[in-house]
Amino acid sequence: MSWTLVIHGGCGAMRPANLSPEVEERSRAGLDNALDAGRAILAEGGSAIDAVEAAARVLEDDPCFNAGRGSVLTADGHVELDAAIMDGRDRNAGAVAGLRTTRSPIRAARAAMERSPHILLTYDQADVFAREQGLEQVDNDYFITPERKAQLDKVLAAGGNFDADIKYG
C-alpha cells in the first residue's frame, strides 16, 4: 500500500490586495518544506501520526501562515494558539486552545493525547502542561510579525468587527 500526504495553509480571498507575488512564492516554498518533512517519514514506512505532526510543525514555524509564528493577533494584541491532532488507528486525540507561550502547539496537542488522560487543554494551564512536558516555551512576541500587527491595526481601526472584507485569519 502506498502512502499519501495532503496539507493546507489556510484559505481566503488572497488576491489581489492581500497577497503579493513574493508572499505567494514564500508560501509555496513553505508548503514544499512541509511536504518534505512528512514525506521523509512516510517514505521510510513511518506512521501517519508522525507525518502530520512533522508537516504541521514546519508550517507553524513558517511566518507565512496563520499558525505558530505568523499567527493573527487578538484584540488585545496577543497571539493565542489552538491545535489538535487525531490518530485514526484508535481515534485517540489531543487538543489545546489559547496557548500563548508554547512554540509548537501541535506538539502540545500530541502531548495531551499521549501523556494526559484528557482531550482538550486550555489557556494558561495548557501552557503549564506543555512546559511540564518539556516543550519549548517562548515569549508571546516570538509569534508576532509586523504584517499581522498591521492587520490587527486595520481591523481595529474599522471597528474591530469581523467584516468579511477585512477579516484575516
Partner: protein, 133 residues
C-alpha cells in the same frame, strides 16, 4: 490555519490542525480547529480530515465528523462527502476548505473561497502545490 492529513503504508490515517484563529478575536474565542470532529478528525474506518475557514460554521456542521460519517454510514465517496460538507457549511453561512485522505491513500480537497494554500505528495510520485483553482 494550517493542517495535514496522511495515510501511511500500513493503511492508517491521521490528522493535525493548528491555528492562530481570527484577527481581533476576543472573549477567549475558540474556533473549530481544536474541537475534535469539527476542524480535525481521523478514523481508520473512513478518513482523516482537516478544515480551514469560518470556524463557527464548521463547528455547527461538525464538519470533520460529518465527512467521515457520510463515508462510513452512507457509503459516499471521499470527494462527494467532502463536497457535501462544504455545501452544508455554506448553507450555514460559512466558507472555507477541507483536505481529506482515506486509508487507501485516496486524497481529496475542496474550498469555497477564492484560494486555498494546499499541497499533496504520495508514494506513487505525485506532488502538487497550488493556491487557486
Amino acid at each position: 490555519t494550517i493542517g495535514a492529513v496522511a495515510a501511511d503504508s500500513q493503511g492508517h490515517v491521521a490528522a493535525a490542525t493548528s491555528t492562530g484563529g481570527l484577527t481581533a478575536k476576543r472573549w477567549g474565542r475558540v474556533g473549530d480547529s481544536p474541537l475534535i470532529g469539527a476542524g480535525t478528525y481521523a478514523d481508520d474506518r473512513a478518513c482523516a480530515v482537516s478544515a480551514t475557514g469560518l470556524g463557527e460554521a464548521f463547528i455547527r456542521a461538525v464538519g470533520g465528523h460529518q465527512l467521515a460519517m457520510r463515508m462510513l454510514l452512507s457509503g459516499e465517496s471521499l470527494q462527494a462527502a467532502l463536497d457535501a460538507v462544504l455545501a452544508d457549511v455554506g448553507a450555514l453561512g460559512g466558507t472555507g476548505g477541507l483536505i481529506a485522505v482515506a486509508p487507501s491513500g485516496e486524497a481529496a480537497w475542496g474550498f469555497t473561497t477564492p484560494g486555498m494554500y494546499r499541497a499533496m505528495a504520495s508514494g506513487n510520485g505525485e506532488r502538487h502545490v497550488a493556491v487557486y483553482d
